[in-house]
């Protein structure tokens, strides 16, 4: 009886946590991070890689959206070794609006400015 109660409480907590999550984060989690976590793709590293090449959020966004529309090794900025370790991304077939929104949410989540301090 105690075990059943414990499992029930855990399920309730998870459901309530899922429901209390920001809708944007929920969308990012569902569209991107869920899969990334499953494949153990290092999001922070990918973001920093884009940052070191494109510098501004606007330029990164343009580059990411362009890649996600047509994800091919040749269009990627990641090193070749990356694709030896991680599987090649499949085309998401999202509409532009959703794709852009996802990228914006992704950039906001990993924004370096939020981590910098004096």
């Amino acid at each position: 009886m105690g075990k059943i109660t414990g499992i029930f409480i855990l399920i309730c907590t998870l459901v309530s946590a899922e429901n209390s999550m920001d809708p944007g984060k929920r969308q990012l989690q569902k569209d991107c991070l869920q899969c990334h976590q499953k494949q153990q793709i290092p999001n922070e590293m990918v973001y920093r890689r884009y940052l070191s090449i494109y510098s501004t959020p606007m330029r990164i966004k343009e580059a990411m959206v362009a890649y996600l529309r047509n994800p091919q090794k040749e269009h990627s900025i990641m090193p070749p070794q990356f694709f030896l370790k991680f599987p090649m991304k499949e085309n998401l077939n999202f509409d532009d609006e959703r794709l852009i929104k996802d990228v914006e949410l992704y950039l906001d989540t990993f924004d370096i400015k939020k981590k910098l301090t004096l």
């Binding site: 090449i53 400015k113 910098l116 301090t117």
Partner: protein
Amino acid sequence: MLKSEKKSLIRFLLIYLGSTFLLFSLASWVFYQHQRHQLIDQQRNALKYEAQQIKTQLHKLHESSDPQLFYPVHPPFASSIYDIDKNYIFGTLKGARLLEESSYMKDETQLYYLDKVEPYFLGAAFLLVSKTLDTKSIVKLQEMMVWFMLGAGVFFTLLGYFLGKLFIAPMRDSIKQMNQFIQDTTHELNTPISTILTNIEMLETFGKCQKSNELRRIEIASKTLSRIYDDLTYLNLNHHYHRHIERLDVSGAVRERVVFFSSMMEAKGLTLRLDIDPGVMLEMDRNDLVRLIDNLISNAIKYNKTKGLLHISLTGEYFRIADEGIGIKEKDMENILHRFKRANNSEGGFGIGLDIVNQVVSSYQFVLSIKSKVQKGTEVEVRWEK
């Protein structure tokens, strides 16, 4: 030191020190600018070094997976990072606007160094490092320059004075020799002139003889020589002359001098008109007064036309003497008071008469005015008022 010697020395020192000061100032300015730039460059190099340090730390931060990334802060330096579009990302220099130059200075107080970051660690394409200009070393340099200029100024002044004395030594010797010669000559002339004049008077008094033309000419020539002797003595002793100021009867003195010059006036057939107010008294040295009157009367006789009018007026306010002579040209009026300057070279003289008059007038702060019209005459007026 003689007046002319002093004048020459001052002129030499002015030219020498002026040109030396100009050259020295120019050289010092170039040296100061060079040293100042070097001091600023040293501080710029420190900024460059700091930029390298920060870039290394940005690289480390970019690779770091820490939840908080501590931006490198190294006082007295301040820095900020900017993205490729020159938008501020983070740092301690928030308000600073990026310029195109890699190294620049604002308000002469703040040094900036702009460096490129490649790859863009933390998204930074530009790194701006700044530091307040350390003015201590520049102030020290300025102080050093001031002391150097002062030291050089004193040294060159002393050197100039020494050189000046050395350069004018031959001139001083020449002037001394010339003065000595004039002094000796005038002294030697005095005795024969006095003898001639005394004997003419004795001939007139005891010889009971009528003044013949020949005798009158001898008298005039002797009096002219006597006056030249007095003028030369006056000029020669002027620097060391001790004036004995006393209350003088100017009216009596003018009449006396008119009598002295009467034979010369007669010889030239001049008509004399005297308007002398009695009892005009002045506080003066007798010799100064006599030289003033003598030179003005002498000039008026010398430059008057034959059988011309000589008008002498004396009041409590002025002494005026007018002739109907050749007059003075407009262009000569400016320099007529200078020594050795003569209005007409056809007449005799040394050109020292008006110089002596001017000296006397200046000494007593009288006012001298000369009005003249060529071929009409000249009017010289000395106003006693100051």
